[in-house]
């Protein structure tokens, strides 16, 4: 089950999506907006997405995770639009009979989501600047310096 929403993520609802009488272990990961980004104060974030493709990629990742790990349920919910400090931008929940698979699958899904799902984060800093997060030619140049 994958979703992209503009409202706050209701974590209890995400968990209920993966419950199963066979499940002995649930792992839930939340990615949350931090007040600090590499030493700079952040006021809030804004996320945008290519929604149709993002849903497709997330579904593909779920299918891959269900093949790699013995999952009973999985859910990936990403929030877009403005996300304030302390609020969750993403929730990933998985259930399995035992905890090894739950931890491994949850980790796999968040790692892959961050690599391939077309969602972009814009950081609104306390100093007034606004920047897209992620790799860019500018950042590469700064790193080389």
């Amino acid at each position: 089950m994958v979703k992209i929403i503009s409202e706050p993520i209701q974590i209890a609802g995400v968990i209920s999506l993966v419950s199963s009488p066979q499940a002995g272990a649930l792992d839930v990961f939340l990615g949350v907006t931090r007040a600090d980004s590499q030493g700079r104060e952040v006021l809030y974030l804004e996320y945008e997405t290519y929604e149709q493709m993002a849903l497709r990629e997330m579904t593909r990742l779920e299918t891959e995770a269900r093949e790699k790990f013995k999952l009973l349920g999985s859910a990936m919910v990403h929030r877009i639009g403005r996300v304030d400090i302390g609020e969750a931008s993403v929730a990933i929940a998985v259930s399995s009979a035992h905890r090894n698979e739950a931890f491994a699958a949850c980790r796999f899904l968040i790692d892959q989501l961050k690599k391939t799902v077309p969602i972009w984060k814009r950081e609104f800093f306390a100093d007034g600047s606004i920047e897209w997060s992620g790799e860019s030619p500018q950042k590469r140049t700064e790193q080389v310096r």
Binding site: G31, Y47, E48, T49, Y50, Q52, M53, A54, R56, H78, S89, V90, I110, L113, K114, K115, T116, V117, P118, I119, W120, K121, R122, W132, S133, G134, E135, S136, P137
Partner: protein, 81 residues
Amino acid sequence: MKIKLLLFSSAADLAGFREQEIERDDLKVAGNILGYLTSLNTEFDKWAPYLRVAVNSSYVDTNHQLSDGDEVAVIPPVSGG
């Protein structure tokens, strides 16, 4: 070739638009879209190594053949999560 071009994030900022219907003879494969963008803003030249192209919501190689009516998206480095 007639396609629908979608730009996101920093790519949309560089181009100054997010969506455009384009019809051009020099669009044969997915990679050609980067040449088109560079003709609009030379900054795209530096960005080329960072951009991926998706056709109809799937990532493709730069040599993927385009077809009339394709939805072609330029995907800057993602930063969800």
